[in-house]
Amino acid sequence: MAIIRHLKVRSFRGIKSLDWHLGGRVMCLVGPGDSCKTTVLNAIELALLPRWNVPFTDADFYQARTEEELVIEVTIGELPNALIRQDKYGLLLRGYSVQEQAIHDDADDGDDDVLTIRLSVDSDLEPQWTVVKDSNPDPRPLSWRDRELLAVAVLGDDVDRNLTWSRGSALARLTDAESSAHVIATANRKAREAVGEMELAEWQRVADQAKTMARNYGVPVNDLRPGLDVRAIRFGQGVLSLFDGPIPVQSFGLGSKRLAALAVQEAGIGKSSIVLIDEVEHGLEPHRIRGLVRTLCEGRTEGQVILTSHSPTPVVARPVKELRFTRYSDGQLDVLACDAGGQDAFQAVICRCPLAVFARSVIVCEGKTEEALCRVLDTAWATGHGGEGFDLRGVVAVNGGGRNAGPEAARQLGRLGYRTTFFGDSDQPIAPNTQELQNAGASVLLWDGRMATEQRIAADVPLATLQLILELGCEIKGERGCLDSCRAQVQKLGGDRTAITGGSIVEWQRNGIQEALLRAAIGNAAHGAEWFKNLNDGRRLAEVVVAALPGICGTPLATKLAALEQWVYAQ
């Protein structure tokens, strides 16, 4: 029954400053390690969980600078009526406009009604929870009981404890307290009886000795015997826990335990709460991750779910508009989301290659040909750089999905803080254009001379390689089809199509076709008839080309690829 609209953090652990409009009901935070994803969840948890004795230390302040006040402000909407009463926090009501993504100090008629809850800790480490409003100089204290009404839960933490009935655990909260006490008392009595019936000869002997000695000292004892101490079973840390038949659930595998604990917690809080899960994939195999994510996120109309993840499985299980990218630099944390306009392009890239989300640098290739080229270059360059290929450098090459989608995907990636290069054909203008891509922070690598990849290749490789390429083309497309398209291209370029008699370039030259013409013809044919437009065939092309690269340094092809190499291996 609550949804967080905005989060502001100052000077909390790794975060010096964060201002984040959440913009959604379901989201998954992804980002490189140490980018404070868990800290964000912790901040929300500390501000909203109904705990009254939270110990803070100097280490909870940014760089342990206790002179700067630690502040966490959470602006929450869809509030329960009980909190909006005039004698509660109704007079501190503010407004949030989802369209403008802005907080209004007084709620306009079209706004969502929100309250801003502030947790502040100063150098004497005493936390204070208040409800604040700009126009009100006296913030109102927020009791932990009222925080309970917000129903925030961190699922999956303290797994072992939540599978028991220890104090404050989810199961304990669901249970009627009196019946638990009764169970323990009965258990104690039964245990004592059981011990009383046991054969304890050796202990009895010692007890008899003790009796004689005690009598000597005047202690009036009659029947000393060993028995179970009355305080043997106490309702302390998890005396009662969940069992599956004779097996305690606590001894299940991590994944199952976690899911069980999660299920129990959710039973306690209901569907209308705010749910935080750190590392949703922890301990789970991919199909169970997907199942969990679906159960949590699908069709959610109330409450809110905020996940973090290091794994590609949750990333592909949800649409890209639910992803949030954490970007951290020197204390400043920004949480970014994909633009509405770029969602389709970006979504396609992620579906094709979810690993891109977790890369540091991304090469967005225009199509499969370029992607195949990158793959082969990866192996080739690795040998030259001491075995360090793309993986170790955190580089991923993805298929951008064509001229229309690729540049947009590259722009989104650039905007979201990835180190990005768009690698593609220059035969037609790209949209967004080079300037826009660069403004978004991405680099652009296009072939010189307004050419597609195949055309550039055909123009620059030695003739022997070109022959190999032609042979590959005949193999893939069939000799007749391949030569036919060559003939058509030759004719278009003004040459004599009859000169193409067979699959040998040398022959063509002898028949009078100029080198430039035949290069162009083959290039156009390869591009136009899509000889290498899938990964396998593209690979074969790439292998041939890469083998020939050392011999053609200085050509536009080699120069461009060298530039790409430099970008990949830059520090």
């Binding site: 005039q86 004698d87 007079l91 009501l93 407004g95 009100n136």
Partner: protein
């Protein structure tokens, strides 16, 4: 006999009950709150009214969780301060009638917006408004706006609408009120007089009908019910007051504050002046004391003391000496204290010195009497609460202590009070003393003055037969007096 009126009143979505003086309108509201489901917001105009409502509700055993009693203006201030952007309201508390008017307009804006309405609807299940005849036009607009969000039931008596002259151009014709809140009925049992002076109650019922019709009121025809003194002289007035010295719950009625102060002085404060809410004299004095320094500040304090008490000759004499710079050897400890206190005020800038001076003034032996004890006490309280570091002026602090009283509801503590009809309207006393009926210029003022005492009424009037103009609202409407629509409230009180 089941009490239908209160129940029906509680259940209707919108309604008006007309309650002549002493017929138990406050009691009706309290009962209706008891019958209502959920939490009710009960609105009235004065803090005295708040106190009266609270005591009736407590007496009926209605749990405090079921209601909140406050004044309309306090509610406006609360919401305008909570939603300043929606209201267009910037100052924390209004000073003066102009600013109050602006506040009401701002509050009306607030109550039309969705979010504040939501807060109202979530916090309360219904609204009751007492003394509706005292609503100025802007307050009527506010109640109308709130009535769109919540069930709203109002109680009033147009014949007690004496605030109209204060509201000047901000007046709502009573016909509009009835248009918005359909009349459920008129209370007719004069409970105030039923077990104390039933004859007086009946006579007053008759007076009401006469006043509504513009007919004469005869003081001479009410033997044993009304004590009529035909010559209005100061001697007679004071005589009537002295006769009341051993009685409890007496109110003497004049038309101006200055006349009230004179009565208080002449009776040596046996009759205490009831101060108005704003108490402008207090605020002016606070201003003066704060803005002056040294000797002028002492002058301000002395002036204030003269205003509030008699017998201040030694104080004035001492002050003259200080002004002239002549030395003085105090002959007694309290005079010494006074002298030191005065010097302290001159030397230091601290407001605490002024407080000491006031305490020293109180300690002057010899005959001195209070004219305005309440105001004196308020000044002391303001000086005690004054904190230079907070940036609030003495005037603001004084205003704040009055405001605190406004919020908590005020109790009348004196046994004998002298006041104007404006201040005592809605209140109940044992004995009423109208010091000059001619001072009551309108039918409404006269009616209010005559209906204050439940055991006895004493009237000083030069004329035996008094006639006043027909009240405005009746002159407008062609309707007959509400004789047809009387509703009996049952005999139990």
């Amino acid at each position: 006999m089941p009490n239908d009126t209160a129940r029906n009143f509680a259940r209707c979505g919108r309604g008006l009950v007309i309650g002549p003086a002493g017929c138990g309108k406050t009691y009706l509201i309290a009962e209706a709150v008891g019958h209502s489901a959920g939490r009710q917001l009960v609105l009235t105009h004065t803090h005295a009214g708040v106190a009266a409502l609270r005591s009736k509700l407590a007496a009926l055993g209605v749990p405090t969780s079921k209601y909140r009693v406050t004044t309309i203006d306090s509610l406006c201030l609360c919401y305008a301060n909570a939603f300043p952007h929606l209201a267009g309201w910037t100052c924390p508390y209004p000073n003066g009638e102009e600013e109050w008017k602006a506040l009401r307009v701002a509050a009306c804006r607030v109550f039309e917006c969705r979010a504040p309405r939501r807060v109202l609807r979530v916090s309360y299940d219904g609204v009751f408004v007492d003394e509706y005849q005292d609503c100025c036009g802007s307050q009527h607009a506010i109640v109308g706006t709130i009535a769109q969000a919540l069930p709203c039931r109002v109680v009033g008596d147009p014949l007690q609408a004496i605030y109209r002259k204060l509201h000047a151009d901000d007046v709502t014709p009573w016909s509009q009120v009835e248009g918005l809140f359909p009349v459920l009925g008129v209370l007719s049992v004069p409970h105030r007089w039923l077990h104390r002076n039933a004859g007086l109650g009946d006579w007053l019922k008759d007076v009401r009908i006469r006043l509504e019709r513009g007919q004469q009121v005869d003081f001479g025809n009410a033997y044993g019910l009304v004590k009529w003194i035909p010559w209005v002289t100061t001697q007679n007035q004071m005589g009537a007051c002295y006769k009341a010295f051993d009685q409890d719950g007496v109110v003497a009625i004049c038309d101006w504050t200055a006349r009230c102060v004179a009565v208080a002085e002449n009776t040596r404060n046996h009759f205490a002046v009831l101060e108005s809410v704003e108490c402008p004299d207090l605020l002016t004095a606070a201003d003066k004391i704060e803005s002056s320094t040294a000797v002028n500040r002492v002058a301000g304090a002395v002036e204030f003391a003269l205003d509030c008490m008699t017998g201040m000759a030694p104080l004035v004499a001492m002050f003259e000496r200080i002004k002239q710079g002549r030395p003085y050897r105090p002959r007694s400890p309290d005079k010494a204290r006074l002298w030191t206190a005065m010097l302290e005020v001159i030397d230091s800038n601290d407001m605490k010195a002024v407080l000491d001076l006031l305490l020293a003034i109180e300690g002057i032996t010899g005959k001195h009497f209070y004219r305005r004890r309440e105001m004196w006490r308020e000044m002391r309280r303001a000086l005690q609460g004054y904190d230079a570091a907070s940036g609030r002026t003495l005037r603001d602090t004084a205003w704040a202590t009055r405001d605190h009283a406004r919020k908590n509801g005020r109790r009348i503590v004196s046994k004998r009070t002298v006041a104007t009809p404006l201040l005592i309207k809605g209140l109940e006393f044992n004995h009423a003393l109208l010091l000059d009926a001619a001072q009551m210029k309108t039918a409404e003022e006269l009616y209010v003055a005559l209906t204050r005492g439940s055991f006895s009424l004493t009237v000083l009037s030069a004329e035996r037969m008094l006639r006043r103009a027909v009240p405005a609202w009746l002159a407008e409407a062609a309707a007959t007096a509400y004789g047809d629509r009387q509703v009996s409230r049952g005999s139990g009180a």
